[in-house]
Amino acid sequence: MLTIATLKKGQRATILEFSVDVVPLKLLEMGCLPGNEVELVQIAPFQDPLYLNINGSHLAIRKETAEKIEVKLI
């Protein structure tokens, strides 16, 4: 399964549908919505957290959250 957590630095992908039970609402509100484009900008040392650019919104999330968001490479 391809998720945000499996992306490599600099890779871009499209966010697929995800379940509301695992992804915090706050993330949605900050622009992480199905259909939006996500770029993995940078990975912190020890592989966590991840720095993302989602449609121009720059966020950092933890790997455990990223693993739950499925994506499709562009």
């Binding site: 706050k26 900008v41 912190a44 999330i61």
Partner: protein, 699 residues
């Protein structure tokens, strides 16, 4: 009477909302707390025209009305409570032109509450450089609002914003989104139950876990019945709402906003590459920490020494200028030094917040969180806890104040509770004198001395106990706090001098007038205890004179003997003697007992108190040290300060919370006496047990 308009400033974090607030109100602002919680409440006034004033309230930054922290609860509680005296006549939603899409989410929610809403698009001065063009007219039409293009950096557009606020009556209250499109069936049911209520407001009351104090109880009960809907179902509806809002926003922006993507890669990515580099990123961060440490540990000693001597001479002057007596003594020896004990912290607080506000304003603090999250999370701390923990090495007071920047309450509380373990500067004189007494002057590996290594070990011990107790607290502390980690990485910005200056001023003020009261009260009490006593205390002069009648003493020698006698027979002396049975197993006598009790004013007082008791009559460290070395253990014989009792004292000072100013600031920052009392009890217990164990094992 002048007309007053209540204005609420609302916006996402990092939109420059506070700069807008500072522009509008200048220094006409007050910062306090919301009742019962430690969320900053900022309000101020702004003159709109000759007869009209605006009362502006700067609400905590939030991404939406779905609250997930105490700060965000404040926003929704105010906006849903029409009876609140601060309920806004008009809301100004501040948006960042570069993040317009995300910022508009909150705008649509506020507008749907039926509150007249103005959109203030900030950082308009960056539009040209970022190749952003906006069709304001169409945007106003689509959002059914009025828009002010402003720049708090360049101070542009504020006249038109003020004009819009003055004419808020002309704004229409139409919602952006018809709430019932989210789930027609569910909302129809709601409408039938509450025919006269606004659906969106009801929806918020149902979904938010917020304390709506002033809502009608009867209503709340019925509302509660709608909560029976399964939680994941409600979450699904919230998700639908968010998506519906974004669809609306996308449609609106498609017709009004053009961004030339070619200009996108810029300063941000170049700076990020260096500042968040897996090696250089840490080097730079530790460099900055070192600079902060240097400032509060070293640079601030100059103004602190000055404050110290100024208050001392002021006290002397008062004593000579006023008629001798108890009242003069209270002023000159109790109150003036007590005030000095508050003012003395100002340089450190000002320095620390100067740095912190620059780090926050520039957008760098989010990078720190990114770099440190993985390490700190294991101990239940936030990436932002690093700054308070390091600052704690200079002084716990500003460090604990700096925990305000940690959003998550549990992480903030843990940081507050463990920071006093780090080795603050006040412990240093105590450590130095005891180490030089009981640790041999020996070289290790040619370059290190045993004494130096011992001091290093004490610093290490401070950090280690902070980290370990954080880890334990994370496991055992039951604090309701939703934790998930989403951090916005804002654009880098040059900090605005005005914002930095106002932050420093506000923090200093809040310390002096908040914690200051408690510090003054306790220091006056301590002074009274040390300067008055029953029985023999009041005849100190004649008793000491008689004792030494056969010797030829200089006046000065006699005075120091009298001072020692007085301290021994004062209330604090009696207290010190009273606790002797308790501290004897740790290897201390009553004199050390007195010194420990007086250390509550500030730890470094330990050395001075011993000097008075031993009637050394000199502040020279060497003299005090020699006198301490000669002290004999009354029960066991041999030197009182030997290796066992020395280590025991070091450990006691490492763990005990003997600082009234820390207690005062913890009380202020946690807004209850529960945590400082808990912290004091636990830390003192740890100190006692560890010191007891060490002494009994080593003696």
């Amino acid at each position: 009477m002048a007309k007053q308009i209540n204005v609420a400033l609302i916006g996402n974090p990092n939109t420059g909302k506070t700069s807008v607030f500072n522009r509008l109100t200048g220094l006409n602002q007050q910062v306090g707390n919301y009742p019962g919680i430690t969320v900053e409440k900022k309000q101020g006034t702004c003159k709109l025209s000759r007869n009209v004033k605006a009362h502006v309230i700067d609400l905590p930054g939030t991404y939406s009305l779905n609250a997930s922290s105490l700060d965000e609860n404040v926003v929704i509680e105010l906006l849903l409570n029409k009876n609140d005296k601060d309920f806004p006549d008009v809301a100004v939603v501040v948006a960042d032109v570069e993040n317009l899409k995300r910022n508009l989410l909150l705008f649509t929610q506020i507008k749907d509450l039926g509150i007249p809403t103005i959109l203030a698009i900030n950082m308009a001065d960056r539009m040209k450089r970022k190749a952003i063009s906006l069709d304001i007219e169409i945007l106003e039409e689509k959002l059914e609002t009025k828009i002010a293009l402003i720049s708090s950096r360049k101070n542009e557009g504020f006249d038109s914003l003020k004009e819009l606020i003055t004419n808020f009556g002309k704004l229409n209250n139409k919602p952006c989104l018809n709430a019932s499109v989210i789930a027609p069936e569910y909302f129809n049911r709601l409408r039938k139950t509450f025919p006269n209520q606004d659906l969106y407001k009801l929806w918020l009351v149902i979904t938010q876990d917020v304390n709506f104090g002033k809502l009608d109880r009867q209503e709340l009960k019925v509302v509660a019945s709608f909560k029976t809907e399964s939680e994941s179902n409600l979450k699904r509806l919230q998700q639908k709402e968010t998506i519906a809002r974004y669809q609306f926003i996308n449609k609106v922006l498609k017709e009004t906003l053009i961004v030339d993507a070619a200009n996108a890669k810029d300063l941000r990515s170049r700076l990020d590459r260096v500042l968040m580099h897996k090696f250089w990123g840490y080097i730079i961060f530790f460099g900055i920490l070192l600079l902060i440490f240097q400032a509060i540990f070293d640079w601030s000693t100059y103004p602190m020494d000055w404050i110290d001597s100024t208050f001392a001479s002021f006290s002397e002057w008062t004593k000579s200028a006023m008629p001798a007596g108890d009242f003069t003594n209270l002023i000159a020896e109790g109150i003036i030094p007590g005030l000095g004990g508050i003012v003395i912290f100002i340089p450190q607080i000002a320095f620390l917040f100067l740095f912190i506000s620059i780090l926050e304003e520039s957008g760098y603090m989010s990078r720190v969180v990114f770099l440190m999250d993985r390490v700190m999370r294991r101990f239940g701390l936030s990436g932002k806890s690093v700054v308070p923990l390091i600052s704690g090495t200079a002084c716990a007071i500003p460090a604990i104040m700096a925990t305000r920047n940690i959003e998550n309450w549990k992480e903030r509380l843990i940081t507050i509770l463990v920071t006093p373990f780090t080795t603050c500067a006040a412990r240093l004189p105590v450590y130095l004198i005891i180490i030089s007494l009981v640790i041999p002057e020996q070289r290790v590996l040619g370059i290190f001395t045993l004494q130096g290594l011992s001091l290093l070990f004490m610093y290490f011990l401070g950090f280690a106990s902070a980290i370990v107790s954080a880890w334990l607290l994370d496991r055992f502390l039951k604090v309701k706090s939703k934790t998930f980690f989403v951090v916005e990485m804002p654009n880098y910005k040059l900090p605005l001098f005005k914002n930095v200056a106002i932050t420093v001023l506000e923090k200093t003020k809040s310390f002096v007038f908040g914690a200051g009261k408690i510090i003054l009260a306790i220091s006056v009490i301590l002074w009274v205890l040390a300067s008055y006593g029953p029985g023999d205390f009041n005849n100190a002069e004649s008793i000491v004179n008689e004792q030494h009648i056969s010797e030829t003493l200089t006046d000065q020698e006699l005075d120091t003997k009298i001072a020692a006698f007085k301290l021994e027979h004062s209330y604090i002396g009696i207290l010190g003697k009273g606790i002797e049975p308790a501290v004897a197993p740790l290897g201390y006598d009553w004199k050390i007992g007195i010194a420990i009790v007086s250390s509550f004013a500030a730890r470094e007082v330990f050395v001075g108190t011993l000097a008075t008791i031993y009637s050394v009559g000199s502040e020279e460290e060497e003299t005090i040290k020699n006198r301490m070395a000669a002290e004999v253990n009354p029960i066991l014989g041999g030197p009182l300060f030997n290796f066992a009792s020395g280590v025991s004292l070091l450990l006691f000072y490492a763990f005990a919370m003997q600082c009234m100013s820390t207690i005062a600031i913890v009380k202020k920052e946690t807004n209850s006496w529960k945590w400082p009392i808990w912290q004091f009890t636990v830390m003192t217990a740890i100190a006692y047990i560890v010191a007891l164990g060490a002494y009994q094992f080593l003696k």
